[in-house]
Symmetry: C2
Subunit: 410 residues, 2 copies
């Protein structure tokens, strides 16, 4: 994989120039993407800035995020060839930092569940997950050092875990979603994929202009609550084993680990996540549903059909439930610094018929809290574990994730 921090170190030392770094990405895309299918389209001759703290960094942009110089097709034939007027706020920010939004990456239609044709770079017979399939796969295949995804259920953390890369779904609205196609305004969250924790931490600190988010590798002894989320169906045994390995490695590195069962308002809110998502999704995609129902992908079409019968009272009840759960979660974070849990129920499923299950991600998206997935080294397809901190404490989630990453490598 291409490491953002390594590339920037080489550029800063004069051993690589930004154009050379972008060429590395272009060459990797030309070599790998014909087999992977992570890229929708790209800029053949991009403008390359020589300045800025992300100069030379090629970025993959999930294709529900507007770009002024490339179409934004939402993974749907309804938007075939659609050219937005302006860059999304996050794309403008990347350009201002010197980065090059080089390619658009594949997405499930409107960031929903239907699979793309993208394959998992670790084993082409498996899904890379979704909906941010192309972004996860492009980073995993070493095509780009940084990619943008979005998560409404588990669309950043899950594909990152399946593809063996690091990713963060930051605190709700830390990254601006202006110019990003909406599915659910209460849930949609932009996230970053990178080769390792220090890469996404460095990227996030620059994009948000918050130096405190950059990785602090000084020693500390966090209190980690180990959480199985057993209100969801149980995870696969190898996913549970990876979680235990991560916990033991953290413990050996100085962390204090305790078992954490979440108080009932949290599982109650988890169960209502789909109501909020679908009640808002029905409104957000009302034009597409009214005018192009026949061209919607099968799962999304069925999901929106079912959503038509939701009523406001169900939505209001779900929002109250989420509100209660957020208050309870604050108390939980009075007892532990972070929560360590599963990033996905297991390894990437076989075939391209499903993007996998978001059941270990939904609660945290609904809570709006920062989630970081750390790859757990091992045989076979990748596994990941998820580090979660309180709202606004993205730096702590990254720091503990970095500690676990180093402990697992040791």
């Amino acid at each position: 994989m291409q490491s953002l921090v390594d590339l920037r170190t080489r550029i800063a030392a004069g051993r690589l120039d930004p154009a050379g770094a972008i060429r590395l990405a272009q060459d990797a895309i030309a070599a790998r993407d014909p087999e992977i299918g992570a890229i929708v389209c790209g800029t053949p001759a991009p403008a390359i800035s020589g300045d800025g703290p992300l100069a030379g960094i090629a970025v993959g942009i999930k294709d529900i995020i507007d770009t002024a110089d490339l179409p934004t097709q939402m993974g749907s034939p309804i938007y075939a060839g659609w050219q937005p007027k302006a860059d999304a706020a996050i794309v403008s920010r990347l350009r201002a930092l010197g980065a090059v939004p080089l390619v658009k990456t594949t997405t499930s239609p409107f960031a929903s569940h239907d699979p793309t044709a993208t394959v998992n770079p670790r084993d082409h017979g498996h899904t890379p997950g979704g909906s941010s399939a192309g972004s996860a796969a492009a980073v995993a295949a070493g095509m780009v050092p940084l990619a943008l995804g979005t998560q409404t259920g588990g669309s950043v953390i899950r594909p990152a875990a399946f593809c063996g890369v690091a990713a963060i779904k930051p605190s709700f609205r830390l990254l601006p979603t202006v110019g990003v196609k909406t599915f659910s305004w209460a849930l949609d969250t932009l996230g970053l994929f990178g080769a390792g924790i220090r890469d996404i931490a460095h990227g996030l600190s620059l994009i948000t202009d918050r130096p405190a988010l950059d990785l602090d590798e000084s020693a500390f002894a966090p209190c980690i609550g180990l959480c199985l989320q057993d209100f969801a169906a149980p995870a696969d045994s190898d996913a549970l084993a990876a979680l235990q390995r991560a916990a033991r490695a953290a413990e050996a590195a100085g962390a204090r680990i305790s078992d954490l069962a979440l108080p009932s308002p949290l599982p109650e809110a988890w169960a209502r996540h789909p109501i909020i998502q679908d009640f808002e999704g029905r409104q957000a995609l009302a034009w597409e549903y009214a005018h192009h129902r026949a061209r919607l992908s099968p799962e999304l079409g069925a999901q929106l059909d079912a959503a038509q019968s939701l009523v406001a009272a169900q939505y209001d009840d779900a929002r109250r439930s989420a509100h209660r759960a957020r208050r309870v979660l604050k108390d939980v974070f009075g007892e532990v610094d972070v929560i360590l849990t599963l990033s996905a129920p297991g390894r990437a499923p076989s075939g391209l018929g499903t993007t996998g299950d978001a059941r270990f991600n939904r609660l945290w998206t609904l809570m709006g809290v920062p989630c970081v997935t750390v790859p757990v080294p091992g045989d076979g397809l990748p596994l990941g574990v998820q580090v979660i901190a309180r709202f606004g404490d993205d730096g702590r989630a990254l720091a503990v994730a970095g500690m676990i990453e180093r402990a697992l490598a040791a």
Copy 2:
């Protein structure tokens, strides 16, 4: 003015058909708009539904709200002729109810402060306010019975007060902003303009599918906190007199009135509203600023110039301040049912050089609470008073506003 409820009553009784009702709007636009300048463009031969609870209702759509059949030009030459792909969620919802999004209405560029060329229908030598200038003026001039605006500071309540119409800025995100150009994602709120309180209440109840929001005219005795917002500069004497008249009328109708001074976290948050607005606005309009700075309107350009120097720590501090204020405001609403305050510092200013001052609106937009403005009958240019309820209690704000409207007419 055209009353939504009256039109619907006539249509339901068979005394008017939807096409006839739309023709009334078209005729009024042809007669009045050449002098008023509220309309940007319209559909010459709109599809008119015969069905739906809003069939026959022509709607004016603020021109930062996407329409699939009409350009969306943001009040800015940067977007001249720009044709979005899809209808905004709110436009889709209106069409599903049978309403006809007939015309786009003028807006300050990107819903900012710079005036439009629209005049106040009550006196053409005065501003109609802004940024939802065209929507307020179109309803006031009797061109349409319903219009959509947005409020980030005071862009719904203020122009409604200046033009002598009723309006609601509902609870934050009660109406979906998908497909509405963003200035500040924490603040931007869609609102409705209509001839009277029952018109906006009926419209809102249908659009949100919440029958409880429709106007309940049964007698009740609300506790009203009379609030001068004296942390902002004082209001004009005639505005204060109108507020006292509204309070006395409500009292005569059975309300209990008490003076209300807001606890200090509320004025502290009020003072920080512009930080949140401009820190987000800088990101939301980053593409326009980077590529079209010279074509931005003077006030907006200067506002975004100044916003470039804001730092994340100021924004985070302002958000914490707002969070504290929202908790304190909950306690205030434990003591009073609604707050009654000024809709604007006075009557519409003379000339078209300014859209007026949002200082009595900003706090409530930041709190996300429902605000309804009631016209206060009297001589000269209109005045309005503002009824504010707790978050999610839009029905109560409308009910008390309706009570005051009837009391003032009695």
